[in-house]
Amino acid sequence: MTVPAQKPARKLSMKQRYTALTHDLDWTPTYVTEDEIYPYTKFEGIKVHDWSKWEDPFRLTVEAYNKYQAEKDRRLYAVLDGFAQSQGQLGLTEARYMNAMKIFIQGIPIHEYDAHRMFSNCARYLNGPGARFAALCQSMDELRHAQTEIHTLSHYNKFFDGMHDWHKWSDRVWYLSVPKSFFEDAMTAGPFEWLIAIGFSFEYLLTNLLFVPFMSGAAFNGDLPTMTFGFSAQSDESRHMTLGLEAIKFMLEQDEDNLPIVQNWLDKWFWRGYRLIALVAGMMDYMLPKRVMSWKEAFELYFEEQMLNGLFKDLEYYGIKPPRDVQWAIDEKEILSHQVYWVLYQYSHAAAFQTTIPNEEDQKWLMEAYPETWPVFKSVVWDRAQRVMDAGGRYFNPGLPQLCTVCQIPMGFTEPGNPLQQCQRQSVYEGERYDFCSDGCQTIFDNEPVKYRQSWLPVHQIFQGNCGGPTLPDVAQWYGLQPGDGAEYLGSPDNLNWLAWHGQAVKEA
């Protein structure tokens, strides 16, 4: 006689297990004060009365965390192995797609590592055990992201230029000062500002605008490893979104006085994050041979619809308003990608990625996606760049750009309503001039000038002689760039190799 198998009843419910293995491991110190153990959680002016109110809906324990994270890694590495064994790189749509992933490996893994460090800091220095444990999980997640991104993209490094020294470039190369300064800015703030800057503004408000374009772009262009990495990381991201949302709600619920501080950080970090992901806009509209959606569409879906019309309606309850400069971002959605890629096109001779004039198929898509603004950019810049090519040349800017002191991007952004008039803003602080691309960046500077005058602006540093020498070859050597890493895609080793692998003859120029 068989007895039907019965699952043994768990001794504790999920909620009880979680509480027993996180909150209940905390204790009230008797021989040191709370302030001595946690010296960083008062100076920002955020008032917390009851840390036990921090909620973590995921209710993970170390056991559950390790079990599921290990499984995610196993699945990912199986795909990476399979792709490498089957020479999957030959199945990409085209070699020029790799430029999107060059920007990814140069601009992201090192900052996942930064996030790992700062969340590790939070895992020690936040007073509440619930908050500490959530930060600990996120710290381990970010380390895993850094590692898996590097492993995922390492396969491509065997076949394509522009990836070999991503770590060194992250520290030195001009456009990579954009993400570097962003993360260092957040890391050098206090723990509460960090939680709003990265936990909330970046990981909740803006995260889909970063990850979906890269991952869907990968899916559409035959990049199985990156797509799989993306899905693997995104499941962690849902915990990160939750931590970020909990952080802002916790601060707002603990004390009304926290509202203006939180609102100011939200305003600041929305803008900082928005400018950072401008690079993604240029990538998704111009660097993908097969495109998923336009920047404009992604912004409308992932920000305007999901955030402004979803999340911010929820936050209204606390008195939170949408970010101060949000209308400027909405106004820019038709032109942002065109302006960013135009920056990248004319300066890629000094970069570790390649650019090229959009081909006929690209232009057809651009026309459909941006029927009002693409024709303007086509006639004002791309047709002229084409004429330079037709005459046997290739337009690269012969000088160095004016950089915004805050976002550090070349000041190619324009006045709202006038896409052919670059925006110029200037502040004078203690007798020195500083320049900005927008009201958003200028306001950030004016609120904390002593912080942002410390900007290590690549162009200024080159002119001070801190980047290897006065000429472009000197700087390129200091950067660690090699021939083939940057400049024009057509005729590059990446391009020629691709044709050779596919048995195609090189077209006559």
Partner: protein, 108 residues
Amino acid sequence: MAVVANYDYDWPSRSAAEFYGDDQLIHVWWNGNVFFVSAQTFRFPKAMPFGALVNEVLKGFYTADPDFVPDSLDSAKWKIDGVAVTPDMGASLEANGVGHKSLVEFSL
């Protein structure tokens, strides 16, 4: 506004004039031609004549644009830090009011 910090927070600029000696940075902006996606930053001696900037640098620099006519700079309208001026081509940048990180703007 002071930076909120847990110590007396005061750090200098990384691009202060003193780092450039007798030179300074200037931003030259061709307002009306986005072929040059942004203004351009240069490092020049403060004593450099304005006319040298125009004739020896900019007339050559902007030929990267196939439609640029160098002599058109002779009739350009100039602004320095947002103020319309008629530069004295024989005088130095400094004497013309161009300071460290000044914006030298022209339109054609």
